[in-house]
């Protein structure tokens, strides 16, 4: 990478934007909002391009911009951060339809989480980042990541029950 090279940036966007979009979608739960989020984060990345020096740093930077921008948007509209639905979809206990219902149920519960908790869950369990990498992406301390993940899982368990196959029980313990 050198200077604000448009072709290098275009290559980066082409290669990484699908993955960035997917993570953004999980954080905000809406396709159009995820696209706006990625567009804004990539614009910030383009401005910072000359100092990022290599593509791996550019991806870390963009992921961080997505996360902090999403948190900022939702924090300013705090009512939106906890979209409690009146009732979760029905849960079944067996066949394909039940699996679909369970998926909808879990998805709704995930989207009800406050944005910081949801971001922590997405970064840890979708992006498979370490706690330290998650902290870097969220712009917070590792201890905060632990507590956000733990709080998210407690909330999900309250909504979903104690199904051990559904949620990572070991992360319910805050170890900071």
């Amino acid at each position: 990478m050198s200077g604000r090279d448009r072709s290098e940036f275009a290559e980066f966007v082409a290669a990484r934007s699908p993955a960035l979009h997917r993570a953004a979608y999980l954080m905000v739960g809406e396709v159009s909002l995820a696209q706006d989020l990625v567009q804004e984060a990539l614009t910030k990345t383009y401005v910072a391009w000359p100092r990022l020096r290599d593509t791996s740093k550019a991806e870390i930077y963009t992921r961080k911009a997505i996360t902090t921008t999403a948190i900022g948007w939702f924090r300013k509209k705090s009512w939106y951060g906890e979209r409690i639905t009146e009732s979760l979809p029905e849960r079944g206990s067996g066949g394909h339809e039940d699996l679909v219902a369970e998926s909808d149920w879990l998805w709704s519960a995930l989207l009800e989480l406050p944005v910081r908790q949801r971001a922590a869950i997405v970064l840890r369990y979708y992006e498979d980042l370490t706690e330290a990498q998650t902290a870097e992406a969220m712009g917070c301390a590792v201890g905060t990541v632990k507590s956000q993940v733990s709080a998210a899982l407690v909330k999900l368990r309250e909504r979903l029950g104690d199904d051990p196959t559904l949620l990572p029980l070991h992360d319910l313990v805050v170890t900071r």
């Binding site: 604000r4 804004e40 614009t43 990572p168």
Partner: protein
Amino acid sequence: MTEKLKQLMHERAESVDFATPDLDAMTRSGDRTVRRRRGLALVGGVAATTVLGVVAATQLGGGGTTTPVAVESPETAPLVWATGSTLHSADGGATNLGHEVRSLVRTSSGYVFADRDGTVWSWTDGEATDVGRTDARHPELVSDDEDGLAGWVDDSGDRPALVVLDQATGSVQQYDQHTEPGQDTLADAPNPVIFFGIDDGMAYWRDNRGAVAVDLGDGETRVIDGEMSTGFGIGDAENGLIAFTNLEGAAATVVGTSREAGVGLEEAWGTTGAFSPDGRWYSSEGDEQAVFDVTSGERVTLDLTQKFATGYEWLDATTLAVLAADRPRMDATAQLLTCKVPAGTCEVVVADLGTFEELEGDFALPVGEPTG
């Protein structure tokens, strides 16, 4: 045991098709930022962000009560200044920043300011966030207004730390490996820790190695003046050019990559100054305007009748903001002008800011240090 949660997220994320990002829109927007076409304007007390940000906020807001105005930002940055906790712009806009402003800089993402207690605040998207501490005696800030970076010296720990904030992501990085307990942060102190500037991903500061240029991407450091003993040695940096100030000899300022290899600017007496965004022009701080062509060292004549005038900030590549008054006295009325360089034509934009006496202790221009 996280399998269902993970599986769900993968299934949901992969079930959606996303439109290809609009590369032209991103690079256009980014280039506008780089060209100082900032996505920040004061509109009816609401700090409008980029058009994208406004769109997103509107979507999030749903039936909210405020309708942000999507404003195509001007090519030339607006004149701004702060009195008390209010940020004013020359077009009549005023925004309450929520905290008294003693020192102010702008970046491509917003503003960074320090209050009377030395608390450093980041102002983005209409909100002030506490991002650190600096010396309350003389709060000094630096920024790259073509990027989202700002910097300051934090004197609250056991040793001074140089701090860099990226407003675009909110990340804060501290550098204290080359400072020591007891080092002062005022420029006239012996062996001080001073932040001179940030440009193009490089930070310029003085620590116990002397004046150094630090690549904020990979940390690579170049000592640019190991003999610099005070905090008055660098006026500004832009596009790899450094204005070395406070020199003895015919040229008080030398512009180049080192003190030894550069163009001399005679009568550029100011210990600080401002390069134009392209590095072509340099305005030296002082009681009378002193703008130079850094390729030749020649001074540019501005059509000013005021007895006091100092250029302090470039609003674009050829427009210099000037603080002026008819007389160099505290009871004189302060004015803000814009001057075109090299044409030399000037226009009074704000005719009456109040007298310097009235502004004292309560006035900040976006230069990174208390103005009044």
